[in-house]
Amino acid sequence: MLSVLVTLWGTFLHLFQRNVTVAYPEEMPYLAPRYRGRIVLTRDPDGEERCVSCYLCAVACPVDCISLQKAEIEGRWYPEFFRINFSRCIFCGFCEEACPTYAIQLTPDFEMSEYDRRNLVYEKEDLLISGTGKYPDYNFYRVSGAAIPGKDKGEAERERKPIDTRSLLP
């Protein structure tokens, strides 16, 4: 019974506290850089698409709102199309967690309301940005052993030159 009174008093005292909510949109709230809002596709430091179309974001997505198709130019994988249906997205950030190349990132932007659901389907042109996002340095192909135009076998980080199979020297 006493606890009821304590609770009532405690609640009553909130009369004298400041509101925690802000009057959006007159007053814009602060969003942390790691806020999970609109999803973007970033580019690596060389300005190339980071997405290698590995499908891990799609499979991590709990609402299955990511769809893409792999394409390839001389060993370099990229998405032929990359589609996010934001009318289904729950902004959980699993896709960002799953991405092995830091390509897909969530941004502090949530202002994407539309009157027509179809406008919430974002294609690669809508998603791809020009920068590196939160991870300025990472470049997947510099680390991985795959050969791409401009980076031959043995030229990735911590790689030796390709071996000569016809040599029996140790």
Partner: protein
């Protein structure tokens, strides 16, 4: 005053009284949300009109223009009747509440208090019939709960005012108020005051005693199937109920219109408003008890306390008269 004049004055009184009451109840929906906001550190509805006060109008328009829908599986006659009963009984209860000796609809009924209890007792029918007519398991459960709850709490709500009646020696509410000219009955009848107020909360099934509409287990309880203005009538009934219970508490325990300096009607308004605000604070602060806890609270704690109160009042009065 001629007979015609009396009728005109009476009608005016009724019309004005109802208008004020309806307006107050409607406004209360906004006040409640603003107050809840304050106690929850947020603004509450503040967009429609100055301070969001036109939210009331917006809600009203919305409710009025919603499709008047009766589910095909419902009992249509009873389904329509139930919200009407909810409105009518609380509004009838208002009739006997004297704001001042002059202001009040038919303030001078010599069984005013009994009339009030009778009306709140009739209110049970609205929820029971609504739950039954909806023909839906959640509604029926909500209705059953409401019936059990209101019947139970009515018992000691009625008993809790017996002390007041004993002190005042009358069921006439004006007489009861006048009996408090020197001391509010809340002082000798504190126990009665507490029990009456708790019973009032239960009668209006407001949080924390809103088990008939417990959202987490029953959807919306007895009014699950209601929408549009029929829902609005339940809604308004609930808010008028809050006002009536607060006003009755003022009349019975807080000295009615008596108070220094300010005009009587204002005093009455202040006291009632305070209690209304307390209703809202309860909603902001307290969680809903489990149904069995709630029932045993009523029967095992409230009822004995009430009986004790009557016994003690009787004993004290006997002692006082014999001395």
């Amino acid at each position: 005053m001629s007979a015609e004049g009396a009728i005109v004055a009476g009608l005016l009184n009724i019309v004005l009284g109802l208008a004020v009451l309806m307006a107050a109840a409607a406004l209360l929906t906004w006040i409640e949300r603003r107050l809840l906001g304050v106690w929850q550190d947020r603004p509450g509805p503040n967009r429609a009109g100055p301070f969001g006060v036109l939210q009331v109008v917006a809600d009203g328009i919305k409710l009025l223009f919603k499709q008047d829908w009766i589910p095909p599986f419902a009992d249509p006659v009873v389904f329509v009747l139930a919200p009407a009963i909810a409105m009518v009984t609380v509004m009838l209860a208002v009739a006997v509440v004297p704001a001042t000796p002059a202001i009040g609809i038919i303030a001078d009924l010599n069984i005013g208090l009994l009339f009030f209890l009778a009306m709140s007792g009739l209110g049970v029918y609205s929820v029971v019939l609504a739950g039954w007519a909806s023909n839906n398991k959640f509604s029926l459960l909500g209705g059953m709960r409401a019936a059990a709850q209101m019947v139970s709490y009515e018992v000691f709500m009625g008993l809790s005012v017996v002390g007041v009646v004993m002190l005042a020696g009358s069921f006439n509410l004006l007489e009861i108020v006048r009996g408090q000219q020197h001391m509010w009955y809340v002082v000798p009848q504190f126990l009665g005051f507490v029990v009456f107020f708790i019973g009032g909360i239960a009668e209006t099934h407001r949080l924390p005693f809103d088990l008939p509409e417990g959202e987490n287990e029953l959807g919306a309880g007895f009014h699950t199937e209601y929408s549009g203005m029929k829902f609005g009538m339940f809604f308004l009934g609930e808010y008028i109920g809050i006002i009536v219970v607060s006003a009755m508490t003022t009349v019975l325990f807080l000295g009615g219109w008596y108070g220094p300096v300010l005009p009587p009607v204002l005093w009455f308004g202040i006291k009632t408003g305070f209690l209304v605000a307390f209703f809202i604070l309860l909603r902001a602060a307290l969680p809903r008890p489990r149904y069995d806890q709630f029932m045993s609270f009523g029967w095992k704690l409230m009822l004995p306390l009430t009986l004790l109160n009557i016994l003690a009042t009787g004993a004290v009065m006997l002692a006082a008269t014999s001395i």
